[in-house]
Every structure is written in C-alpha cells, then in structure tokens.
C-alpha cells in the first residue's frame, strides 16, 4: 500500500436499531434481541451503513477500507461495491460487544485514519471504552439511542464527512461526549443518562462566508475563553471542584494540568489537589477549605447535576452553597437546549429546589448568560 494512502475502518453493530421498530428501547442484552426478532424486527444497520458508504464509493481507489467479517462490515461494504480488507473473526449471527471492542482495538493498532461505526450509544460506548480518543471516530446513526454527540446528522452525511476528512478537507477534530441511557431504568419509565467518556470526531465548518458578520468562535476558542474567565476569578486557597466535561477540562488544560476524563477533580491555587474524588473525599475536603463548584451540562438534556457527576452530591452542594456554584457552557451548548431549562437531579428534592431559578452561566471571556435551572 502506498505510504500516503489513507485507511478507513468500518464496524457495524448488526443488531443496533433492532429494538426501535417494535418499541423496545435499545437492543442490549440477548433477551431483547430475541424478543425483537421474534416480533419480526429487521436490523437496519446494514442498510444505513450502505447509505453512508455510498458517497465514498467514487474515491475507493484512494483509501483502503478495513472491516470485520460478514455482518460486522464486510457484507455491507461488498454489496456497496467496495473491496474491503477483512480482518478478525466473528461467530456470524451471534456478535457481541466484545467483538466490537476487539475490532476497534485491532483497527486502532493498524493506525486507521478514521473509524466509521454504525450503531447506537451502546456501540459508541463499546468503542470509547476500547480505544478512547486515540483514533478519530464518526458514528453512522443507526441505533434508537443516539444521545451521544458522536454522530453525523444522517448516514449519508457520515459518508460525506468521512470523504472530506480523508481528503484533508475537514481537518478539525473535536471531542464529543459518549453518553448512554441505563436501559433498564428506561423500561421502568426513568431516563438517566450516564457519561461514559469521549471520542474524537471530525467536523466541517462552512467554507462560504460573506464578510459581514463576525466569525463564530470554534469550540476550542470558546472553552479556552471560558477557562480564562474562571482562572482570573480564582481566589487563593479556595477549592475548585471541577465536574467532568470538555468545558471544565479546558480550565485544567489552560493551567497546564491533567484532568480526570470523567471524574471529579479538585483544584487549589492553580494546582490539582485531588483527582477523581468520591463524595466522601469531597466532604472531608470541605471541612478544611471554602469551595466553589464548577460544572457544565452533560448529555443532550442539559443536566448540570445528577448525570455523570453524582460525586458532587446533594450534601456537597448544600455545604458549598448555591452562591458558590459556577456553571460553564459554550453558547453552542446552550443553543442545543432549545430553550429548555438546565436540569438538576441531586437525589434530594430540597437541594434540587434550592438550585432552581436563574443562574449566571459563563459562556466566554467575560461573557455570561442568565439561564433557568429546573428539576
């Protein structure tokens, strides 16, 4: 293979989306799959993967398509007209999360330039846990659960974006949250979104400008600007309890520190005092120093407490005090809320109520918004 030739990895979760058509929420767990198949559900993953691959077909001579056997990718690729390089082994008809993870790891070891996957949040979660943010990944939405921010808007866009990325025309990558619902809760009527980690995804900005309006800040610019504001306001000896999220992580980045990916860290005097703390550890620290909490909305629904940062418990919040809670968020994130309020679910209805009302959110350098919190 010529040294410049790109490599595109493809992983299909063959059973993703199977539950949706027959109103079963999600398809994790063999019993759901059996129930779905029994109800006559047909997995749509192959079809959607095909839609995604089609825009790449004209360029197939320019890159190597690497995939897993049979229903995990090779079938869809061949049907579409590709001649993929097939790696790995599966038991056809009986693929599991372990196969997905193995496939992802193997493709990463081969240093693929981009990994396309067809699946839902469950698949995203599997890939994230296998390879983290080492390799750029892009999701072809096929699952029912697509709360994570790692997908293209539709299968065809995924293919187009992949093509642009391989041609070097969509160079920017950003980190996107991988979240997932606890499915059992959902079937019981409860939706709780959990932050699992991050994947790095390509995205494309518009080429066409008009010379009229100010350019929008990139996410990197925005989070950096927010971080600058926060750091400027940090008081000596105070504790700063940082919740998970790319926006909060920009604070530690700007200070040259390494933050735990999905855990809660504590800063003091521009240094990391404690990493990945538990509620107990937080409460102990609060005995010794005054503190502020810095959180950012997690997951598409805008939870600032209760999803992915449960270590910052109701008790911790009560002790710190509402006036010492700083919410940070990029403007783009606020816009995705579509006017819905930010949410809290601390486990204590009293504390939830305390937090409800309008809060000042840091959205840029010396830029704020006043936004509603609800429970």
């Amino acid at each position: 293979m010529p040294p410049n030739e790109k490599q595109l990895g493809l992983i299909i979760n063959p059973i993703s989306g199977i539950g949706g058509a027959v109103s079963l929420k999600g398809s994790d767990g063999t019993s759901i799959q059996e129930r779905a198949r029994a109800l006559g559900a047909v997995p749509r993953a192959q079809e959607r993967a095909g839609e995604a691959l089609r825009p790449l077909l004209p360029f197939q001579g320019e890159f190597e398509l690497i995939t897993y056997p049979g229903e995990m990718g090779a079938d869809a690729a061949i049907v579409c007209g590709f001649k993929p390089a097939v790696i790995g082994k599966i038991t056809s008809g009986n693929t599991t999360a372990a196969d997905t993870q193995r496939a992802a790891r193997e493709m990463q070891a081969m240093d693929v330039d981009l990994l396309l996957f067809a699946g839902g949040d469950g698949t995203a979660r599997d890939i994230a846990s296998a390879i983290g943010t080492q390799t750029p990944v892009l999701g072809i939405p096929t699952g029912v659960k697509i709360y994570s921010a790692v997908y293209a808007t539709n299968p065809r866009s995924a293919g187009e974006l992949a093509a642009l990325y391989l041609h070097g025309k969509a160079k920017e990558l950003r980190e996107a949250e991988v979240v997932d619902i606890d499915e059992e809760d959902v079937r019981q009527g409860v939706v709780s979104v959990i932050l699992y980690g991050y994947l790095r995804i390509p995205f494309r900005r518009s080429l066409v400008q008009s010379l009229k309006s100010s350019s929008p800040p990139s996410e990197q610019y925005s989070t950096n600007a927010i971080a600058a504001t926060i750091i400027e306001q940090m008081a000596p000896d105070w504790l700063y309890i940082l919740g998970p999220g790319t926006t909060t992580r920009a604070i530690t980045d700007r200070l040259g520190l390494a933050k735990t990916l999905i855990g809660v860290d504590v800063l003091q005097n521009h240094q990391i005092l404690a990493s990945d703390v538990t509620e107990k550890e937080l409460l102990s620290l609060l005995n010794q120093h005054p503190a502020k909490i810095i959180v950012t909305p997690i997951g598409g629904q805008g939870y600032v407490f209760g999803r992915g940062n449960q270590q910052i418990s109701a008790e911790v919040i009560r002790r710190v005090g509402k006036e010492n809670i700083i919410v940070v968020s990029t403007k783009d994130k606020i816009v995705t809320l579509r006017g819905q309020p930010l949410l809290v679910d601390t486990g204590s209805s009293t504390v939830d109520k305390l937090l409800c009302g309008y809060v000042k959110v840091v959205t840029g350098y010396n830029e704020y918004t006043i936004y509603r919190i609800s429970s």
Binding site: R205, S215, P217, A228
Partner: protein, 465 residues
C-alpha cells in the same frame, strides 16, 4: 389612518397603492394595517403624527430645496485651498467616480463570494495593490478612517504582546489622539511623548525614557501632523524591538511612491487613511482607514476586520475568493474579544484600488514628486514674505508645513479672514491645538496647486501682512 387618507403613490414604495394593499391585507387576514402592529401595546405608541417638515414630494422640488441649501456653501472648487490636516485635496480621476457610482458596487453589501464574486475580487485587488505600495503581504479591508486604523492596530499590538502600555509620539493630530484615548482606554494606558523642540521630530531620548517592558507598541505618523518627514524611523524601530515592542506607523499612502514604506525601516504595522487615493473630501465623508502587517499567523489572527483570500478553482485560470482565517481559533491573551465587526468602508477600498491601478508605478512616483516639489516651492516663497517664517521647524516636509506669523503682529485668524476675502483658504489655524507654536498655521500643498495658484497665495499674504 393619515397615510391612507393621503393616498400618495410614493415612488420609493411600490405597494403604496390602495388596491394592492387591500389585496395583501386580505391574504394575511387582516382588516387593516394597524392589525399587523397589534403586538405593540398602546402605551408604547405615538398617538399623533410626527411633527416633521413638509416633504418635497416631487423630485424636482426636492432637488431644488437641497441644492438651494448647499448653494450656501463655498467649495474648494471656487477658491484655492491650502487646508490639509488629515483630509487632502487631490485630483480624483474620472474613472474612480465612474466605478464607485456603478449601482452594483454602490448597492451591494455582504453577499457571498459567489453572488458577489466581482466585489470580492475588487476588494482583494485593493488589498494587493496596497500591499505593493506598502511592501507588506497582509492588508485588511479598511476600517472607518485613520483614527480607527491607528486605534485598532494599537489594540492588536496589545493583544499580540500581552502588554498594557501604548506610547504615542507627538506631533499628532489632537483629534486622532482623542479617538485613540477613547478607544484604547478600556484596559490600556497611554503615554504621550513630546516632540523635540528644535526639530519638531520625535525626541528619541524622551521616547527611550517612556518605553519599557510593559510597552505593547510605539506609534508615530510619517509625515507627522505638522508635516515633517520623520527621519529617525530606523532608530525608533530598533529601540522598540529591543524590548519586544511593536512599532505602528501611520503613513499617508500618496507619499509612498517616493517615500519608503515604514515596513522597510521596521514598522510592524502600517496604517493610515486612503482618502487621498481617489476619494473626494466631501466635508469628511471620504475617509477609510487602511491597516497592514506581515504575513504571520499570530498577527493575522488578531484582525477584527476581514481579510479576503484568493484561491484557484477547479477551472484552470479561474480564481475564487473567500475569507482568510475565518474562524477564530486561538484565544490567547487576557483581552478577550477581538473588538467588533460591522459595516466599514469597502466602496472606498474599491475606489483606492481603481486609483492605484490607474496611477501605476510611474503615476505614484510622479505624484509624490509633484507634491513634494510644489510644497517646497510654496514654503520657500512664503518665507520671502516679511514677518513670515516657513517652515517653523527645520525639518523637511512632504506636503504640509507650519507657517509662523508671530513677526507680522497679526493673528492667524485675522490673516485667514483676509485671505478668505480674496478667495483663498489659508492653512489650518494651530493656535489653540498647538499654542507653543505661537501664531502658526498648517499649510498643505498638493499636485493640484499650480504655479499661478502659489503666486496668488504669496501675493495675497504680502498684501495681508
């Protein structure tokens, strides 16, 4: 409703026809136009007709009225004017007016590089033509005027260096300084350095005392406000760069056919006004501020104004345009926002491009020589008038110079009044803005002043003093 009673068919309001309005109202299911305003509560309404002057409905009447008012003006076409001080009287080639009266350029705004391809190309060519004049690779689209250009370059310098002090060298237009103070005041400190009393040029020793490691930028104009060509540019650049300070120089573009671009003696930013390049004075309506710098990512990213870029398209020989560094990616310094962006002065940018294209290398050289030659001649001739001293400082001028009338016993105001009666606008009265110069005026000469004009001035002065 008052307007509906009148039933005037307004030429600018195509739908001011009752039948058409009715038809449209039916379609939007409203009984009357007032229903369309129902979201505006009563308490916020103006419940009377606006008390405005009677309009001139016919174009003839309007023209007659406006021309009648304007007739009260005496324009520089009717006299000989020696006024400069930031607004310059040069000849405007007919093609310049022809191009900026083209309705498409006049009425376009900010379409994209497809619908407005021509506009993009004209603007990119402006950048390029100025780039040759300035010997710099990065020229942004212009801002409002030289005041804003100076202020923005200074704030950019502050952002790039992360420092908070700005050192401004006299002599500078007090109005420009006032603007810089207003614009740079948020977060920045401004130190003004007085000029050398002997030469009227920058006092290097004073400058050296004023700068430090806290200084972001040093600013001076060349020629300076009092007309002299600053000859210490290289030393100033060295002083500045030694301490990591950026040098911002304001230069009149009409001089750059014969004077070296400040970029060649160390300026990091060059800025000024392009009004002399094809814009009528228009009582101050012809201004646009140019800004230019080196092609370094760090510097390019800081521009609040737009930068047009060029790219070949898929068709060989065809060029397309777009915006360079569109997305702000680097948030580096404490000063957060990169100022603001809005409507600026693009029609003048296009015009300046036309002007430079018409003039070409020979024209820019010739006009520079014509100006400096005439200015020196005028200065020398004025100096022959008893009691009049020109120039005030021994420094060489480009187009302007200070004339001092102390020994005549007359004030500048008196002299100018007398000149006015003879159809001459004398130089700008400097007595209030620069009292240390006594009874002095700033005289400006350009390529439009003939030998006869100059003789007339000198004779008039002889008669007046």
């Amino acid at each position: 409703m008052p307007s509906e009673e009148k039933q005037v068919g307004y030429p600018y309001i195509a739908n001011s026809v009752p039948q058409v309005k009715e038809q449209m109202l039916r379609e939007v299911e409203a009984e009357s136009i007032s229903e369309l305003f129902e979201e505006i509560p009563d308490r916020l309404r103006l419940h009377r007709k606006m008390d405005l002057p009677q309009p001139f409905l016919s174009e003839y009447a309007l023209r007659r009225h406006v021309e009648g008012v304007l007739a009260k003006n005496v324009s520089t076409q009717e006299v000989i004017s020696f006024l400069g001080a930031g607004c310059y009287q040069h000849y405007v080639p007919a093609v310049c007016d022809e191009v900026n009266s083209r309705n498409e350029f006049l009425t376009a705004y900010s379409g994209r590089a497809y619908e407005d391809h021509g506009r993009f190309q004209a603007l990119w060519e402006y950048q390029s033509l100025m780039g040759e004049l300035l010997e710099l690779d990065v020229v942004s689209l212009p801002t409002y005027d030289s005041y804003q250009a100076a202020a923005t370059c200074l704030r950019m310098a502050a952002r790039v260096t992360g420092r908070k002090e700005l050192v401004i060298c006299q002599p500078i237009d007090p109005a420009k300084l006032s603007k810089i103070l207003d614009y740079c005041r948020p977060g920045l400190e401004i130190i003004v350095v007085k000029w050398d009393a002997e030469t009227g040029l920058i006092d290097l020793a004073a400058l050296e005392r004023a700068i430090s490691a806290k200084t972001a930028a040093v600013y001076f104009d060349n020629p300076n406000f009092l007309g002299a060509v600053e000859i210490q540019g290289e030393q100033i650049a060295e002083l500045a760069h030694q301490q990591g300070i950026l040098l911002v120089v304001g230069a009149d573009p009409i001089s750059l056919g014969i004077l070296a671009s400040p970029a060649t003696y160390g300026a990091d930013y060059v800025c000024g006004d392009i009004q002399p390049l094809g814009m009528h004075m228009s009582y101050g309506g012809g201004h646009a501020g140019y800004m230019a710098t080196r092609d370094e990512e760090r510097l390019v990213q800081e521009f609040p104004t737009r930068l047009v870029g060029i790219s070949p398209t898929v068709v060989p020989g065809e060029y397309g345009f777009g915006e360079v560094a569109f997305e702000r990616t680097s948030f580096m310094k404490r000063e957060g926002g990169k100022e603001y962006l809005g409507t600026m002065s693009n029609l003048w940018a296009i015009t300046a491009g036309v002007y430079l294209a018409l003039m070409g290398p020979k024209g820019m050289t010739e006009i520079g020589q014509a100006i400096i030659t005439r200015a020196r001649h005028t200065m020398e001739q004025i100096n022959t008038v008893r009691g009049v001293k020109a120039p005030y400082f021994p420094s060489a001028p480009f187009q302007e110079f200070v004339v001092n009338f102390d020994a005549t016993g007359k004030s500048v105001a008196e002299i100018n009044r007398a000149l006015l009666a003879q159809g001459i606008f004398g130089g700008l009265d400097l007595t209030r803005s620069f009292p240390e110069l006594g009874q002095s005026a700033l005289y400006c000469v350009s390529e439009i002043h003939t030998l006869a004009d100059i003789k007339r001035l000198v004779n008039a002065l002889k008669g007046v003093v």
